[in-house]
């Protein structure tokens, strides 16, 4: 409040809400490079594509198994594979944490989550939540944005420890309306926590459009409220997501704090297998996005660039099919969960009271 400051009359109609940078893009819808350089090698791009495809086929397979009554209600990530895999590729699974909501399986596969467990998740087996070994990943989160306060605490804690790790936290457009998103982002800004808030704007929160969700033009601009950068990237462009998250991760590692990345994508499938989009989704909107399919885009890119031909793509298809077959086979071999064991995971030590309640579940094999 310098004394010199000029007086201004209040006229708010003119107040420009914000000046955002343009959306980050590398590939156009037909897979043509819009810049001279792609941000990763062709080999890496192919690996990314393979995992995107694995995610896509996993979701398709799961939906059909669910339709046969062999799986629980599930939320496919069809159409969003570039967003989650591109982000996962930009962090380091050895040092960095992946904090999912529930529609990120493709990205989780890249980070190291086994396909077998992904299938077991969809059959309702608790072992899918027991993130294996040293994998730096939190379990799936049923509460929208419920993972964000934890993710910020984790990032803050890593920073305090001098640990090089950063946290990649993923959530949806609907998640931005939750108080927990706000409180988490604000604390992250204050603590300059090494975290990337990756918002998958897939157009919908079940049947609620983004326009009904918020009046802000972009979700990226919500970062303005927290004093750190927010930016949009083409969420169906593997290169754009990768480059943007890579930059956000660099900032986090350099102690520059959080970044909000809005990956603009689209839910080509159902909200969940219990959902019927025909009740609310404009057909033409869907068709528009079918042409923006991130897999198609990479295929066109590879072919145009001569990275791989149709035969090569077909080979990858076959290999992915085989991966799925094996994983689903293994998943079915998983023994049914023992309630005595799982219900025993409430505390490190069981109280007398709980022990007594447990006798009913205890097969006596661990008296």
């Amino acid at each position: 409040m310098k004394k010199a400051a000029p007086a201004a009359h209040a006229n708010l109609d003119g107040v420009a809400s914000t000046s955002m940078p343009p959306m980050v893009r590398y590939l156009d819808e037909d897979g043509e490079l819009l810049v001279d350089e792609q941000p990763m090698s062709d080999e890496m791009a192919l690996e990314g594509y393979r995992v995107m495809l694995r995610g896509r086929r996993f979701d398709e397979r799961s939906v059909s198994l669910q339709r046969q009554g062999r799986m629980v209600t599930l939320a496919p990530g069809i159409g969003q594979e570039a967003a989650t895999v591109g982000a996962a590729m930009a962090v380091d699974a050895k040092t960095d944490w992946f904090v999912p909501q529930y529609r990120e399986v493709a990205g989780q596969l890249w980070h190291g989550y086994p396909l077998r467990l992904a299938f077991l998740w969809h059959v309702g087996h608790p072992i899918a939540f027991q993130v294996p070994g040293e994998l730096k990943m939190l379990p799936f989160q049923a509460a929208i944005a419920g993972q964000l306060p934890q993710a910020v605490g984790l990032a803050w804690g890593l920073k305090l420890k001098g640990d090089p790790g950063v946290v990649l936290a993923i959530f949806g457009d609907g998640g931005t309306s939750q108080g927990d998103f706000h409180e988490a982002a604000n604390l992250a800004g204050v603590m300059k926590a090494p975290i990337i808030f990756l918002c998958q704007n897939n157009g919908w929160a079940i049947s609620t459009s983004v326009a009904q969700q918020t009046a802000s033009e972009t979700l990226a601009q919500k970062a303005v409220a927290y004093g750190f950068p927010g930016i949009q990237c083409d969420g169906n462009d593997l290169f754009a997501v990768y480059a943007t998250v890579l930059e956000a991760a660099r900032r986090a590692r350099e102690g520059k704090g959080p970044t909000l990345v809005e990956a603009v994508t689209y839910r080509l499938g159902l909200h969940t297998t219990a959902d019927d989009p025909s009740r609310y989704e404009p057909r033409e909107m869907h068709d528009l996005w079918v042409n923006r399919d991130p897999l198609r885009r990479m295929q066109l890119h590879f072919k145009a660039r001569g990275v791989v031909d149709q035969a090569g793509l077909d080979r990858i298809e076959d290999e992915v099919k085989e991966d799925l077959r094996i994983a689903w086979e293994d998943a079915q071999k998983e023994p049914a969960p023992d309630p005595a064991y799982y219900f025993g995971q409430v505390h490190a030590d069981q109280s007398q009271r709980l022990k007594r309640q447990m006798t009913r579940f205890d097969k006596g094999d661990r008296a």
Partner: protein
């Protein structure tokens, strides 16, 4: 009379009341064009449009809080929380704000608000979509908590709740949504809030249940009959205010009681039922009141659901055991 499911009864009550009272406004996540994830609000958007049937942002706290303000402006809000578990995200607005509007203002203001939420397990839904969290809301002075189990009571109690001048948390049994059918009159009728229902008459043991667990109780009562035990099943229908008189009358007659609670045991609403029954009918009691509940364990994933939830076998065990004491 036509046979309806519970969710159809909800829809019929909403349809009737929106037509009858223009002040009624329905809002929540996905209640509009799509008609709600369980179709509870199906057709309302088409009839009344975006002014009275509103899809809100994904924000439970402001859904509950805004309902207060809408009521102050003269509307009669019926807000949907998509699953009760997510009312935890607006717990402060429900328990600390909504419930206290009249009291805080010493009567100057009031909130004729109904918050509807499906809840309870057994439908292979994930945690928080399935947890029976009613106890958290039963300990909130100013808030009435209604939890019917049948289509008939659902329609009549929902109409009574919407018309109640004070806030009501209206809990709908997810398990009963499509599984429980029953006759429901087309017209307008109310079921009184605060009155329990004798779901089945009996003489040996009183079995108390509410919401989705009532079906389990009825099954257990039927099984007990096979063993020569006559069980009286009480469907509470309203948790707050609790109908102590009906409980006392039944237990005075039977001398024995089992309380069936879907939620984990400790500090669940069943404890209040036990405490009240022994206060009201202690000298008629011939055995301790037994509780059948889920263990003190969070809601499990689908493959463990059946072992977790109280089932007729466990209830029957308790019934038999109490008659042996």
């Amino acid at each position: 009379m036509p046979e309806l499911t519970v969710v159809e009864a909800v829809n019929q009550a909403l349809t009737l009341e929106m037509a009858r009272d223009e002040r009624v406004i329905v809002f929540g996540e996905d209640v509009g064009l799509s008609g709600g994830v369980f179709r509870a609000t199906d057709g309302l958007y088409g009839k009344h449009g975006a002014a009275r049937v509103i899809d809100t942002p994904l924000s439970e706290s402001v859904i509950a809080g805004a309902a207060i303000g809408l009521a102050l402006a003269g509307w009669v809000p019926v807000a949907e929380i998509q699953f009760l578990g997510f009312a935890h995200n607006g717990f402060n607005q429900v328990v600390d704000q909504l419930a206290r509007v009249r009291y805080r203002s010493a009567g100057r203001f009031s909130a004729q608000v109904t918050i509807r939420a499906p809840y309870g397990g057994g439908v292979r839904a994930p945690e928080l979509h399935s947890d029976a969290f009613e106890a958290h809301f039963a300990h909130a002075p100013g808030l009435k908590v209604v939890a019917p189990s049948t289509p008939y009571d659902t329609k009549g109690l929902l109409l009574a709740s919407i018309r109640d001048p004070d806030p009501v948390l209206f809990l709908e049994p997810l398990r009963g949504y499509r599984q429980v059918k029953g006759e429901v009159p087309d017209g307008d009728y109310e079921v009184e809030i605060g009155k329990a229902r004798i779901a089945r008459e009996g003489t040996d043991v009183t079995l108390v249940a509410w919401s989705g667990a009532v079906q389990v109780a009825l099954q257990a009562a039927e099984d007990a009959r096979g063993q020569g035990i006559s069980v009286e099943v009480i469907d509470l229908r309203t948790l707050v205010p609790l109908d102590a008189a009906t409980l006392a009358a039944s237990v005075t007659k039977t001398g024995r009681a089992v309380v069936l609670q879907e939620a984990p045991l400790t500090a669940g609403f069943g404890a209040e039922v036990v405490a009240t029954v022994q206060e009201e009918a202690f000298f008629s009691l011939q055995a301790p009141i037994r509780r059948v509940a889920s263990p003190d364990v969070p809601y499990p994933v689908q493959m463990l659901e059946e072992q977790y939830l109280p089932n007729p076998e466990r209830v029957l065990e308790a019934i038999v055991a109490t008659t042996r004491e």
